[in-house]
C-alpha cells in the first residue's frame, strides 16, 4: 500500500508515514523532494512523521493549501498542542516568549498587523523604487570595481534587502554581521535549543535598545513611529522589529541568489528577459512560484475537526501546507516543473495565503524586480565560477537558498 493518508473510515497508519523534511534530489535541487512527489501522487494529503516523532498532515495541492490557509479553524497559534515544529529550539521558544502576530490568530493578529500594513503597501513601496535602484547600483559598482569575481550572496543578494529593511526599521546597517548571524541561527534546522534561545534573546535586547534610543531621538523609521504611538510596550516593539528584520532580509536574499542561479542555468529564458525588460514583473512571479523558498511547509494546527481532500484532520492535529508542491500543481500551472518566464504565475502561493499572507510582499517584489533586471543588464557576461554540483544549497534551513554563489563576468 502506498497511500499514507488516513481516510475518513481508517486511522492514521504510522508505519507508512513519510519522514519529513525529506531530502531533495541532487540532480534537481530546485524541485520538491522526490519522496514527497511520490507520496502526493498516491494521495494529496500525506501523513508525515517529523524529527521529534510527532505527526503532521502534509497538504500538497493548490486547492487544499488555499482552503486550509484561508480557514480560521486552522490556527497559527504556535502555543497550541499539536502545532508542528521542524526545530526543537523554536518549539522551546514559544513556551517562554510572547509570540509575534506571525504566530497569533485574529483578532490579536489583525490588530498588530494593521499597525504595519501601510508601511509595506504597494504605493509606499513604489515610492521607494529610486532608492532601491540606487542601492542596487552602488552594490554592483563595488562588485565591478573589485571584479571580475564575487560571491553573489555576500556581495549582492544579502546586503541589498538588509540595507533596505534597516532603513525602514531605523536599525543601523553597520550592525549587520550581528543580526545576520543571529537570524541565520533562528532559521537553521540544525541549531540547538540553546543557540536559538540565545540568538532570539540577543536580538530582542538589541532591538529594545534601539527602541529606547528612538524615544530620545525620534526619526521617520517604523520603530520610531511605534514608540511614538505608544500602543505597544518596548518588549512588543522589540519583538515586532525582530520579526520584520529577520523576515525582511533572509527571504529576499535567498530569492535573489536562487533566481540569479536558475536564470544563468536557463540561458534561453534569460535572453528572453533581456530582450523584453517589461517581462520582469511576470518573470519574478514565475521565479517565486518555481523556486518557492518556504520549502518545508507553512504550519497550522486544527482547532476543530476539518475535512480536507478526503481526510478528516482532527482537532489538535498539525498540518504543513506545502506551498512548494502547490506551486507545481499541474491543474493550476500546466508543465509547472519547467521555468517559463512568460507564464501567468499570479496564482502562486509562495507568499502563503489567508490573513497571514506575507506582509512584505510588495517590498520583496520591488527588490527582486530591480535586483535581477539591474544585475543582468550591468553584468551581461555573468556566470557561475564553480561547477553546478559544488553550489552550496541550504538544505538545512527553514528558508531555502544558497550559502554562497561564486560568480565571474
Amino acid at each position: 500500500m502506498t497511500t499514507s493518508a488516513r481516510t475518513d473510515s481508517g486511522s492514521a497508519d504510522r508505519a507508512d508515514a513519510l519522514a519529513f523534511p525529506a531530502p531533495k534530489s541532487a540532480k534537481c535541487p530546485f524541485d520538491p523532494p522526490p519522496a514527497v512527489d511520490r507520496a502526493r501522487a498516491a494521495h494529496p494529503v500525506v501523513r508525515a512523521t517529523l524529527w521529534d516523532g510527532t505527526s503532521a498532515w502534509l497538504i500538497t495541492e493548490h486547492e487544499h493549501v488555499r482552503q486550509v490557509l484561508g480557514d480560521k479553524r486552522f490556527s497559527a497559534e504556535g502555543t497550541r498542542d499539536g502545532f508542528p515544529y521542524l526545530v526543537a529550539g523554536v518549539r522551546e521558544l514559544v513556551r517562554t516568549m510572547k509570540p509575534t502576530f506571525f504566530r497569533q490568530d485574529d483578532p490579536e493578529h489583525a490588530r498588530l498587523r494593521r499597525m504595519l500594513t501601510a508601511d509595506f503597501m504597494v504605493k509606499r513601496v513604489e515610492a521607494m523604487r529610486p532608492e532601491i535602484q540606487q542601492l542596487t547600483d552602488e552594490l554592483l559598482d563595488r562588485m565591478i570595481e573589485n571584479g571580475p569575481e564575487a560571491d553573489l550572496v555576500a556581495d549582492f543578494a544579502l546586503p541589498l534587502p538588509s540595507v533596505v529593511i534597516c532603513l525602514l526599521l531605523g536599525v543601523p546597517y553597520e550592525d549587520h554581521r550581528f543580526f545576520q548571524e543571529r537570524a541565520a541561527a533562528l532559521f537553521s534546522l540544525q541549531a540547538t535549543a540553546e543557540e536559538v534561545r540565545r540568538s532570539q534573546q540577543e536580538l530582542l535586547t538589541y532591538l529594545a535598545g534601539i527602541a529606547e534610543r528612538k524615544q530620545r531621538e525620534p526619526d521617520g523609521s517604523i520603530i520610531s513611529r511605534l514608540v511614538a504611538q505608544g500602543e505597544l510596550d518596548f518588549d512588543e516593539i522589540a519583538s515586532t522589529g525582530r520579526l520584520l528584520l529577520v523576515a525582511g532580509h533572509e527571504t529576499t536574499a535567498n530569492m535573489i541568489a536562487l533566481s540569479a542561479l536558475v536564470l544563468m542555468r536557463n540561458p534561453d529564458q534569460l535572453a528572453r528577459l533581456r530582450a523584453e525588460p517589461a517581462l520582469v514583473k511576470g518573470a519574478v512571479e514565475e521565479l517565486l512560484r518555481y523556486l518557492t523558498i518556504v520549502h518545508n511547509g507553512i504550519p497550522r494546527v486544527a482547532a476543530e475537526d476539518v475535512a480536507v481532500g478526503g481526510v478528516t484532520v482532527r482537532a489538535g492535529e498539525g498540518v504543513l501546507c506545502l506551498v512548494n508542491t502547490a506551486n507545481r500543481d499541474e491543474r493550476v500551472f500546466p508543465g509547472g516543473d519547467t521555468l517559463d518566464l512568460g507564464r501567468d504565475a499570479n496564482r502562486h502561493v509562495a507568499f502563503g495565503f489567508g490573513v497571514h499572507q506575507c506582509l512584505g510582499q510588495p517590498l520583496a517584489r520591488a527588490e527582486l524586480q530591480i535586483a535581477l533586471e539591474t544585475l543582468f543588464r550591468r553584468l551581461p557576461g555573468l556566470r557561475p565560477a564553480i561547477p553546478f554540483e559544488d553550489v552550496p544549497f541550504r538544505h538545512d534551513q527553514a528558508i531555502y537558498g544558497l550559502g554562497a554563489l561564486p560568480v565571474t563576468w
Binding site: 484561508g70 498587523r113 500594513t117 501601510a118 509595506f120 495565503f353 499572507q357 510582499q361 510588495p362 517584489r365
Partner: protein, 67 residues
Amino acid sequence: MLVQIDQELCCGAGSCVRTAPEVFDQRDEDGLVLVIDEKPPAHLHDAVREAADICPAAAILLDEQDA
C-alpha cells in the same frame, strides 16, 4: 459588475492593487483596501475577477448581476 470590499476581512496584502490598479487602492492610514471604481468598465472585469480569486482574505465581493 459591482465591486465591494469587506474591510473587516482585508489584510492589506495588496494583491488586488497589483492586479487591478484601476479599481483598487490602499488607504494611507492603515494600508487597507479601498475600491476606487465600484462599477468598473467591462475590459477590467477579468482583472477584477482575478483579484477576487487571489485575495488571500476573501475580502473582495463581486456582484456580477449588477449592471
